[in-house]
């Protein structure tokens, strides 16, 4: 029974859903919900990035650029032009997808460090544009973003809501919303991974030459997954902007890009659950370490370094292997 469950295709998704919906039992103030909501949104972004990094083996150091574009498109359209949130999110995601496709075609021909450099540059250029187009984006000082609205119904972190007879405050409502978004993001990603596209991508990761020999159109698949991950980033950027209520060009900045890629690497490249864990750990650490004041940065760096030295495959895959080994030993001992 347990074994069969462990082999189910949707196993991870079910585990994640249980964790997400059980989590409110341990959250006891709006600040915790606040953090959990951000984690879910960031985790969904990283799940998208993982498709590119973990499965297709391409590095993007500019993903915050797409995240920021989505955030700003939403911010500008909803506050200056009175658009509703959903069309802004969708149109933003489509536009970002087109941008990603246009820049992706040429730069995905590059490999290794060159590819990293090119994506880095794309991120930088987007950040510079957001910084300088003061009239539209408010420049380096940022701009406010109104609450998330669907057909006049508003989801604000400060409102209060009623769901199936349960009284929810705004933070809790946002958390549930973000949790559902994360589940959908994971479900879509899992489906993509298990489809022929996913297999093609893994073949690209394994060996591009071999993939081409067996007839995989590597260029097409590479730009496809680049576009998909950019769309993930853009959509999540839009939600993030609504949730935060205020954005600055830092959301498109280099630091943020590095944070994303670190989450993927730390959590475990190619493991959807792993990168979610990576996002949670990296979002949580600064808050946990905040009490150490000056030592915060040192400890943050030390933790990252030790993890990478002793768990080079990332947190979750390493834990899984360790647990798997132990279980096998146990089984062997009994037999």
């Amino acid at each position: 029974m347990l074994n069969r469950f462990m082999q189910m295709r949707l196993r991870d998704l079910i585990i994640l859903a249980v964790i997400l919906f059980a989590l409110p039992l341990f959250l006891n103030n709006p600040f915790h919900y606040d953090l959990a909501t951000q984690m879910a949104i960031i985790a969904a972004t990283v799940v998208g990035l993982n498709l590119l990094v973990g499965f297709a083996g391409q590095i993007s150091l500019g993903h915050a650029g797409f995240f920021g574009l989505g955030a700003y498109f939403t911010g500008i359209m909803t506050s200056n032009y009175g658009w509703s949130s959903v069309p802004a999110l969708v149109v933003g995601a489509i536009l970002v997808g087109i941008v990603a496709w246009i820049v992706g075609r040429p730069i995905l021909r590059l490999k290794g460090h060159y590819l990293s450099m090119a994506t880095l540059a794309v991120g930088f250029i987007i950040a510079i544009i957001l910084n300088n187009e003061r009239a539209l984006t408010g420049g380096p000082d940022g701009m406010p973003v109104p609450a998330f609205t669907v057909f006049g119904w508003e989801l604000s972190p400060f409102g209060s809501y009623n769901l199936l007879g349960m009284e929810l405050n705004g933070s809790e409502a946002w958390y549930l919303f973000a949790a559902v978004v994360l589940l959908v993001a994971v479900w879509l990603a899992q489906n993509l991974i298990d489809s022929p596209i996913g297999r093609a991508l893994r073949s690209v990761h394994g060996s591009e030459v071999a993939a081409r020999v067996v007839g995989v159109d590597t260029a097409r698949y590479k730009s496809l997954v680049f576009v998909v991950s950019a769309i993930y980033a853009s959509a999540m950027g839009s939600l993030y902007a609504h949730f935060q209520g205020f954005i600055t060009p830092a959301v498109a900045g280099f630091d943020f890009s590095i944070l994303f890629i670190t989450m993927v690497v730390l959590g475990g490249m190619g493991s959807t659950m792993g990168v979610i864990l990576g996002a949670v750990v990296l979002k949580l650490l600064p808050q946990v370490l905040a009490d150490f004041q000056e030592l915060e940065t040192v400890m943050f760096g030390a933790i990252l370094m030790l993890t990478m030295i002793f768990m080079p495959k990332g947190l979750l895959p390493t834990i899984q292997t360790a647990v798997g080994k132990r279980m096998k030993k146990k089984a062997g001992g009994q037999a």
């Binding site: 103030n29 600040f31 420049g139 935060q244 205020f246 600055t248 830092a250 940065t297």
Partner: protein, 384 residues
């Protein structure tokens, strides 16, 4: 038997009574929350601000606290990142449940926290400069630094006094420079000063000769103003000297520090800028009400930290003192009462200036709180 019971009850009663008295004496501390950019690119703001807050909270506590209660400073480092600032503001409000927030080193960090603060209805004194923070007035948000608009007004007034009506403007493209540029253009139009040349440079530029040559070649320019931050203005100043430009030259309050003098060296000779009196504490006239406050702050800060005092630390000093004064006036930490008290503070003499708050003005300073200084023989000289 009965005796023992009686004795025990007596003891118990005594302990309980003592406990009650104790708990009444050790009243809850007043929690002052703060998020500052102590590390990262804006650390030159956050570092002196934090030092100032720590030092004066200590001092106030030694002197018996506020309303008989001790102050407790809870602070986080936002690393100059607006979304961190927002998270820490959320933590301060919702998890630490502070009574008032004094913080927000940069405009971005402040503005990111504003929606939360307004919603949670908690008094917030920002330490960042841009005019958007208190214009339009937000019910719960106050700030201590003068806005860039006042700096522009002060500079342009000084120019007018010297009979200058046509200027060239060179500004940085960073947050400070571009906001300053917008304000300068607006104020200039109001005051009837023509901006004949308007050029910009980016933060990483290492030579601004081209932009300055452009201004020099513009006919009719009578003075040059540089609005910028960091090392850009120092380079502009050096280039200005190298080009042998003789026109009166102005810098903004963004570079009003001793380290700017070191960077710019001899080429800064003769330039003017609006600044906090903190740069020239001893040359203030004796009848200046700020003189003593400024001298004391400088002496205390430099004795405690063994480093040069900075105007940014002074913003935190004023923020903390305004908070303390408001809590004392309100007689409690009731948020609405403190907010109202803050709004009604009149004539508080701070290091940055004399504050006169009102429901329409949550900054409370006017352009005169800037002093115009001129560099003479490598030192700041008070002009007016």
């Amino acid at each position: 038997m009965l005796k023992t019971i009686l004795r025990r009850t007596g003891k118990f009663a005594a302990i309980a009574a003592a406990g009650l008295v104790m708990s009444a004496q050790a009243a809850e501390p007043i929690k002052i929350g703060s998020f500052l950019s102590v590390t990262g690119p804006a650390s030159f703001l956050g570092d002196p601000e934090l030092k100032t807050l720590e030092m004066y909270v200590e001092k106030i506590n030694e002197e018996g606290g506020v309303l008989g209660r001790q102050l407790e400073l809870i602070h986080y480092d936002d690393v100059g990142n607006a979304s961190n600032a927002r998270n820490f503001a959320s933590r301060l409000i919702r998890s630490d449940r502070v009574d008032i927030i004094v913080g927000g080193s940069t405009t971005g960090a402040t503005m990111a926290a504003v929606p939360l603060v307004e919603q949670a209805k908690i008094p917030f004194i920002s330490l960042a400069g841009a005019v958007v923070i208190t214009t339009p007035v937000k019910e719960w948000v106050f700030k201590t630094p003068q806005s860039d608009r006042m700096a522009a007004e002060r500079i342009l007034t000084d120019m007018k006094d010297r009979g200058i009506t046509k200027i060239g403007l060179i500004s940085g493209t960073g947050g400070f420079g571009s906001s300053g540029r917008t304000q300068t253009l607006e104020v200039a139009e109001k005051m009837g000063i023509e901006v004949l040349a308007d050029v910009t440079y980016s933060g990483s530029d290492t030579d601004m000769t081209a932009q300055l040559t452009n201004i020099r070649n513009t006919d009719g320019v009578e003075a040059v103003l540089n609005f910028g931050f960091g090392q850009g203005p120092a380079i502009v100043t050096r280039n200005y000297d190298q080009l042998g430009m003789e026109l009166p030259f102005y810098q903004s309050h963004g570079v009003a520090s001793d380290s700017f003098l070191e960077l710019a060296g001899d080429s800064a000779e003769g330039l003017r800028l609006p600044a906090s009196p903190l740069l020239v504490p001893d040359s203030l006239p004796d009848d200046d009400p700020q003189k003593k406050v400024v001298q004391d702050y400088k002496a205390e800060y430099e004795a405690r930290w063994d480093s040069k005092v900075s105007t940014f630390g002074a913003y935190a000093y004023d923020g903390l003192m305004l908070a303390v004064q408001a809590i004392e006036a309100a007689g409690s930490t009731d948020k609405e009462a403190v907010r109202e008290a803050l709004e009604n503070i009149q004539g508080y003499v701070g290091v940055t200036g004399v504050f006169n708050m009102s429901p329409e003005d949550h900054n409370g300073l006017d352009a005169d709180s800037f002093r115009i200084l001129e560099v003479q023989n490598g030192e700041w000289k008070l002009i007016n």
